[in-house]
Amino acid sequence: MESLAERKAEILDEFMMFDDWMQKYEHIIELGKELPLIEEQFKTEDHLIKGCQSRVWLHASEGDQGKVHFTADSDAIITKGLIALMIRYLGDLPAKDVASAEMDFIQEIGLQDHLSPTRSNGLVSMVKQMKLYGMALAAKQL
């Protein structure tokens, strides 16, 4: 299985290829379109993370070998693309790795603005929730 460091290197490589903002955002939009959708039954109020700019639904469950499995969706495609990146980075990892993961790759690919609390797109809270879930599951697995 890939480590977090490998996942990060892969994402950085991918974003290195882009010369301008348009290519970068086109890629994010593409990722958003490819994101496997959250099952309709989980697209409910309790799975909703409210931002005033865009909404995010997140569902977390315990997958194979005690790993954390995430599915998510958003009404905005750029938010969705960023969610896809987060899930690619944090998804299907051991719970304790999710809990302790550093999210600095977002900074390195120049998308940190989207993860600022002032942006209010639901992403900051989503990452927090993902990690909280990892923490809770890790505690249960002890």
């Binding site: 005033c52 905005a76 495609i77």
Partner: protein
């Protein structure tokens, strides 16, 4: 007629732009195209200078010192009050109460007039177009006193339903709260007529003029408005300063709200007597620099001529409306016949957040979201809109950049 056109051609947008240093900057490597003027407008050099000049030359506390600086500061602050009085055609300068902004002004009315004059079962009519700041204070009073809130509905084009308004006025109405211009849709409301109708049933009118003052001529006496609120930062002045205009008689009847220095006539340990208008409502050291700079902002607007600003923005809106007409699936929210320079819209198959994010990459600043008018967005069944709004310094070239950038964004998203 001829003279009139001569005058309008004297409006030179290049010369206006040159007064705004921020318009030189780049955003994401692109020239800034600032179209978020309904949120706040940029500041001309003379307003920035007024702030620095005050702090560099005559900073002092006002109304209480005998020394020269205090007198200069007091004089400048009170001159600003008179400029504002003249600009909005108030009968007296003491009817101009300095506040922190529109929100603060409305809260003042709620806390003093509202709490002293309204009681259980009294009706407050609020238009469906209101900004949260003209809605939430009345919710607070509803919780406290059990007042009754009724909403004046709108037509699909975003204009107020005046027949429904006439009907609602039959319901023991004490207060009507309405904005002069809607920040979310741009509709210009028939304030004069609404005030007249309210007065006929003995109600008073609180006008939120935050979006009107920057773009059109306001004459509070002609409107016969009882209260009229606006924010300095939307009329080329600094943040943290605004105005509540109130009719002298009403203001005199109202109890003070905040207590402290400046607002008192005499204080003993157990009680105090209060100062006269306007000081009764201005407790503590006010935003002196802000008040003075707001005076300069009014000078700026008058130097251009508010009728020129209105005409210029109307032309930009017209041009933008035409130039986006061909865009498939673009729906404008707010198509009232009388409309200020606000272009609120959605495009099928796209989310406002995505469009706003991509426009920002191209240096174009617009607003996306609910514009602090959630109930209105719910009424339309939408989460929010994308809003481009004009100021006096926007140009036709910027309209073209906006349209072109929007087309590029949509191509990426759809």
């Amino acid at each position: 007629m001829r003279e009139n056109t001569m005058e309008i051609s004297a409006f030179d947008v290049r010369a206006v732009r040159a007064q705004f240093p921020i318009l030189q900057r780049k955003v994401n490597g692109q020239n800034l195209v600032y179209l978020d003027n309904a949120a706040t407008v940029q500041k001309p050099q003379m307003v920035i200078d007024a702030l620095t000049h005050y702090y560099s030359h005559y900073n002092a506390n006002i109304h209480r010192g005998v020394h020269s600086l205090a007198q200069e500061a007091t004089q400048a602050y009170e001159e600003a009050r008179i400029k504002i009085q003249e600009h909005i055609c108030a009968a007296h300068s003491h009817e101009i109460i300095f506040t922190m902004g529109t929100t603060d002004a409305i809260n003042l009315v709620m806390q003093t007039w509202g709490r002293s004059q309204l009681s259980f079962g009294d009706t407050v009519l609020i238009s469906a177009l209101e900004h949260h700041s003209n809605l939430v204070p009345w919710h607070l009073l509803k919780e406290e006193k059990g007042i009754n809130i009724e909403i004046i509905p709108i037509h699909p084009d975003g204009s107020l339903d005046m027949e429904a308004y006439a009907d609602l006025l039959k319901k023991n109405v004490k207060l009507v709260c309405v904005n002069h211009v809607s920040n979310a849709l741009g509709s210009i409301n028939p304030i004069k007529e609404m005030v007249h109708m309210a007065h006929e049933v003995g109600a008073i009118c609180m006008i939120d003029g935050a979006q009107a003052l920057p773009h059109s001529k306001v004459d509070v006496q002609d409107l016969d408005a009882d209260f009229y609120a606006f924010s300095g930062h939307k009329v080329y002045g600094p943040t943290g300063i605004g105005v509540l205009y109130g009719k002298e008689k009403l203001l005199n009847e109202m109890p003070p709200w905040r207590g402290g220095g400046e607002m008192i006539a005499a204080v003993e340990y157990q009680s105090s007597t209060y100062n006269t208008l306007p000081h009764k409502f201005e407790a503590g050291t006010p935003n002196i620099a802000g008040g003075i700079a707001l005076g300069s902002a009014i000078d700026f607007v008058r130097s251009i001529g508010v009728e020129h600003i209105e005409e210029h923005e109307a032309q930009l809106l017209e041009s933008l409306t035409q130039k986006t007409a061909h865009i498939d699936g673009l729906k404008i929210y707010g198509t009232a016949e009388k409309k200020a320079g606000v272009f609120s819209f959605l495009v099928d198959g796209t989310h406002p957040y995505d469009v706003g994010t991509l426009l920002d990459q191209m240096g174009v600043a617009v607003r996306t979201g609910h514009h602090c008018a959630e109930p209105l967005m719910n009424h339309f069944g939408i989460p929010g809109t994308i809003r481009a709004s004009f100021g006096c310094y926007n140009t036709n070239e910027e309209v073209d950049v906006f349209v072109h950038s929007l087309e590029r964004a949509l191509k990426m998203l759809r």
